[in-house]
């Protein structure tokens, strides 16, 4: 219960602080009235627009109005098309979350077995080759990799569509691009944790009771190695729920990252504010979920419990 209150307090503070800073930042970015009225508008027309949207009031006044509306989840309407800002965000977010979940699933499916395999032994030509490849991958910026994949599979071989969000074939390149960006880091962490577990005293105990290599891997090493990897998985997922701006732009993926770019360029700040509001909530929930998974996996985080009696 106390824990829940602390979470709620942290969450409220984070949300208010972020939204406040954001409010003043976007007002520094430019004059939305010019965007709305068009470049040829007369000063009188601009004034009319400012009055209509309330831009003529003082910043503090505007902030208080914004804040009182935000409490009711009202972010106003998009300056671009008049649609409710929050609706626009909620319409596009599923595409982003879909990309994030698919990319994470692929990332886990590749990184855990590969990391576990690499962590089992140091030597061997296969492992050395894999490690070299992962190092190279790790040095690649995500967008370069995405462009290379597009060039090869969409432009060159013409196997897959390069843009859009229409059916499984169009998902392949974006999902693979994001997963290849995430995987090297996770592989490294799983490898390091697997190797550490193999060197641990509890694995020596398992050997000393006659446990075979397969049980040692699955029942002794991996539970500990994955426990160490959950923080990275959580961080990677939190990074993705903030919107994969570059990837969504390259693939014209109709997600929140793509919407964020367009809205920012158009000074469509109701939409920008709604996006950030949703992102803050998503990141917070991701961290909460990560913590819950860690508690589930690690009995030490669940508190001392009541198993022991007197010392001795």
């Amino acid at each position: 219960m106390l824990r829940l209150l602390i979470w709620a307090r942290d969450f409220a503070f984070l949300l208010v602080a972020t939204m406040t800073v954001l409010f003043f930042l976007v007002r520094l970015a430019g004059d939305p009235a010019i965007m709305l009225a068009g470049p040829d508008a007369t000063p009188a027309q601009l004034d009319a627009v400012r009055q209509a949207y309330g831009f003529d009031r003082s910043l503090i006044e505007q902030y208080l109005i914004f804040a009182s509306h935000m409490v009711r989840l009202d972010f106003g309407t998009s300056l671009a098309d008049g649609m409710p800002a929050l609706d626009k965000v909620l319409d596009t977010y599923p595409a982003s979350l879909f990309l994030a979940v698919m990319a994470m699933a692929l990332n886990l499916a590749v990184s855990i077995p590969v990391g576990a395999w690499l962590g089992q032994e140091r030597g061997g030509a296969g492992r050395r080759l894999a490690r070299g490849f992962i190092s190279v991958m790790q040095g690649f910026p995500g967008f370069v990799l995405a462009l290379l994949l597009v060039n090869l599979f969409a432009v060159g071989l013409e196997w897959l569509p390069s843009v859009g969000y229409a059916g499984p074939a169009s998902w392949v390149l974006p999902v693979v691009s994001v997963a290849s960006f995430l995987a090297p880091k996770l592989i490294r962490v799983v490898e390091a944790n697997t190797a550490a577990a193999y060197r641990s005293h509890y694995v020596r105990t398992a050997v000393a009771i006659g446990t075979g290599p397969r049980t040692i891997l699955w029942r002794h090493v991996m539970p500990n190695a994955l426990l160490g990897a959950t923080a990275v998985v959580g961080a990677e997922f939190a990074f993705m729920v903030t919107g994969l701006v570059v990837i969504e732009t390259i693939f014209a993926w109709p997600g929140i990252g793509w919407l964020l770019v367009r809205s920012t360029l158009n000074l469509d700040f109701p939409v920008v504010q709604a996006i950030v509001f949703i992102i803050v909530i998503a990141v917070f929930l991701t961290n909460l979920a990560t913590e819950a998974v860690q508690m589930r996996l690690d009995p030490r985080l669940r508190g001392p419990g009541a198993a022991g009696g007197a010392n001795g």
Binding site: T205, G210, R219, A310
Partner: protein
């Protein structure tokens, strides 16, 4: 002059050689020419400072050696049967079965995300044909015999929920779960508080009856508390061995004498406990 109980030793190590084999480097000898034997009912103390090869020599019995360390020569017999050349599968059947181990640090030696009972049950089911329920019953029985508290004797406790002494009791239960002929305890009291050390030593002494036991320690007073015979190792070699009383009262080697001066537990506490 050797064992008080039986002429055929349970364990016989002859001319043991252990090498460190670094990747791409020349092998380095860590243990050289160690011969030891332990009879049923006998507790052999192997004493020496860290790096003396005492733990390696004992662990080599079940080929429980770290990466990059290997048996380079000599022979190991258990109950008259040669075991150092067994394949891995047969050796695995001995580990935890006929040979039980107690390690120094019971916290790091228990898997942090597994319950004490699950490890015990894993060992019991590996070596005895028991269903899950009977294995659990036996696990509770073993833990209760080592005086772990509670109705279920902490069988469902995670290692961090127990005290240091309780964890070491659980470790001893694990070592004895399948009724081993040979018990090897590596610094079993070093990580514990002094008062708990004496309790654990008393428990070990009680549990060594009828089997062959090896107690590895850097502390002669710990060996004095429960060992019939003491072997002193220094820089990979055996420098002195004999009945405990003789080694303790009339040490022949300078190194043994210096160990005696540094014995930790007070003599009053270490007499025949």
């Amino acid at each position: 002059m050797n064992g008080p109980v039986n002429d055929t030793p349970i364990l016989a190590i002859r001319d043991l050689q252990i090498d460190a084999v670094p990747a791409g480097g020349a092998p380095r000898r860590l243990v050289d020419g160690v011969s030891l034997s332990v009879a049923a009912g006998e507790v052999l103390g192997i004493v020496g400072q860290s790096g003396s090869g005492k733990s390696l020599s004992a662990f080599a019995v079940a080929r429980l050696l770290p990466d990059g360390v290997r048996l380079a020569g000599g022979s190991v017999h258990l109950g008259g049967q040669r075991i150092d050349d067994l394949d891995e599968g047969r050796m695995r059947a001995l580990r935890g079965g006929r040979i039980g181990f107690v390690f120094q640090d019971p916290l790091s030696s228990f898997n942090p995300v597994r319950t004490i009972g699950s490890i015990l049950i894993e060992s019991i089911r590996r070596h005895q044909r028991l269903d899950a329920k009977s294995a659990r019953t036996l696990a509770v029985e073993m833990l209760a015999r080592m005086r772990l508290p509670g109705k279920d004797a902490c069988v469902d406790a995670y290692p961090h929920q127990l005290s240091g002494g309780q964890r070491q009791r659980a470790m001893i239960a694990l070592a004895l779960a399948n009724g081993p002929d040979l018990l090897i305890a590596d610094e079993p009291t070093t990580a514990l508080d002094p008062t708990i050390q004496l309790q654990i030593l008393a428990l070990l002494k009680q549990q060594t009856a009828g089997r062959a036991s090896i107690l590895i320690t850097h502390d002669l007073s710990v060996a004095a508390a429960i060992c019939n015979r003491i072997a002193v190792m220094h820089q990979g070699r055996l420098v002195e061995s004999g009945p405990a009383a003789q080694v303790l009262t009339d040490p022949q080697h300078d190194y043994t004498r210096s160990l005696l001066r540094h014995a930790r537990l007070a003599p009053a506490a270490t007499g025949e406990a």
